[in-house]
Amino acid sequence: MILFENISKFYGEVLGVNRVTLTITPGITSLVGPNGSGKTTLMNLMTGLLRPTRGRITVTGTPVDHPEELCRKVGYCTQYDAFPPGLSGFQFVHATLKLHGLDAAECVERAHKAIARVGLTDAAHRRVAGYSKGMRQRIRLAQAIAHDPQVVVLDEPLNGLDPMARAETIALFKQLGEEGRYVVLSSHILHEVDLLSDRVILVHHGYIVAEGKIAGVRDEIEEHPMQVLVRCDRPSFVASRIFELDSAVEIKIHEDKGGLLVHTRDADKFYLLLNRLVMEHGLDLEAVAPADEDVSAVYKYLIEGDGHSS
């Protein structure tokens, strides 16, 4: 587990994060929040690049102020787009592995392996200075995973990647997550976070406003209605029955009269009713889908709409 125990970080009088208590489990965990919300601060704290003003952080049992032990477990792909000058991609990854104290043969082998994993083998011996932004992002990713860390921390790792590289990188993250590693990433590309994350942590103004599985986080926002899209043969009939529920807020029937969009405060009651309509009234149901049970909607409700913390 990665444990944050009542962590606060202040930059002078400026708040970084405040009273954060978190438990991060293996798998892919995404930090979501606007710029300046505290995502990078949380990542820098868990990798030992920052020291908390208050509280304690341990990464699989290791306190973060023990870099000799911590850095064997953790690989961090930061958002700083800077490299030692004059190095090729291979030399960059190789040099980092040498700093880990590995022997020469192992450094070479691991560097090649990590570069292959991020799909940069062909460009490995070109200078990093000549790389595109996406390639620089990927070589930093290779550097972060080259020593085979148990915890991989990635700050905005999809920035600058073209669609193909993005898909390959997401596949790599999923693979790392499936291997039982801790993958902690931050991103503004919410639909991709939605696709790849096991858990999300929503951060705003230095506070954790929600955490957990995306659907679970969404359920916790009880005061905000959930939207469900229903495609069926008798939308007006369904709408009339839904309004009998005290949790229904708003219903919009589609212009083609082939479905409706339901806003409800109690999804469970709604789904039970829908089942009854199918069973008892022979409703021909084409599709039912939550219209906003994704990170983007949750983020919008909680942060942009200044929703309450869960």
Partner: protein, 272 residues
């Protein structure tokens, strides 16, 4: 074994970063200044047949003066600023220090490794300058004179003394400026202040004279400057038994302090 590999890895990276790229050009240009001057002097004396008017004894004093002023107080001093300050401060400005902080390496070890890489470069470069300028001084009288000077033991002792002083200057100033790079956002300010202090050293009371690197370096110089040379005279030279351990101790203390500070450094590039 692992730590040794890590120190060597830091050194390889630092030497490549700092001394094999464009950033090293100012340091090399600085080192080139005395070489150009001494070569020019050699050429001028040969061209204008001034050798008859010169004497080895006289040139020995001239070199002693130029070594103390041009080489020690200018080239080595500013060279050490350029070599040692960027070891930490340069990485902070480049936003690349985190690469070192994300490997299983104690910050204390990192500090020592960076210092040793700077020291290696400074020793090679500035001792090269010292040896070359000393040789050029006597080369005016022909290569045979240089060989004779070295073979007689007297010249070898003299050159060895200058190399020792240059090396100790790199050790002492290196530690000072590495620490300045760790502590100060703009290390040029302490560099100028220290230079001012070192420059007025000869005018200071005996007690304050001892709080200086250059006082001990001057004390170790193998050739004294005669009182009628117009240069401030070292009134109360320190014994080598005090000067050498003193500089080494100063370097060790400053390295310890720099390592302590490095251990508390956070990656806050945005505010640097």
């Amino acid at each position: 074994m692992t730590v040794t590999r890590q120190i060597l890895a830091v050194q390889a990276l630092e030497l490549r970063k700092r001394f094999l790229g464009k950033r090293a050009i100012p340091v090399y240009l600085l080192a080139l200044i005395p070489l150009v001057l001494f070569t020019g002097r050699l050429a001028a004396m040969r061209l204008f047949h001034e050798i008859q008017n010169g004497s080895i004894a006289n040139d020995r004093v001239i070199y002693a003066v130029l070594f103390r002023t041009l080489i020690l107080r200018f080239v080595v001093y500013f060279g050490c600023v350029a070599v040692f300050v960027p070891l930490f401060r340069g990485d902070i400005l480049d936003r690349s220090l985190h690469y070192y902080f994300l490997v299983p390496l104690k910050r204390q070890t990192l500090t020592v490794a960076k210092y040793l890489s700077g020291l290696l470069a400074a020793l090679v470069l500035f001792n090269g300058v010292t040896i070359a300028t000393w040789t050029l001084t006597y080369l005016v009288y022909g290569p045979n004179v240089v060989v004779e000077q070295l073979a007689s033991g007297h010249g070898l002792f003299e050159l060895g003394g200058y190399v020792l002083v240059t090396s100790l200057a790199c050790v002492g100033y290196g530690a000072v400026f590495l620490a300045a790079g760790v502590f100060f956002k703009n290390p040029i300010v302490p560099a100028v202040v220290i230079l001012g202090w070192e420059s007025i050293n000869a005018l200071l009371p005996p007690v304050l004279k001892k709080v200086s690197v250059v006082h001990y370096l001057d004390s170790l110089c193998p050739v004294s400057i005669p009182p009628d040379s117009g240069i401030a005279i070292l009134a109360d030279p320190a014994s080598p038994w005090v000067a050498i351990p003193g500089i080494l101790l100063l370097a060790a203390v400053l390295l310890y302090i720099a390592a302590w500070r490095a251990n508390r450094l956070e990656i806050l590039y945005g505010v640097e």
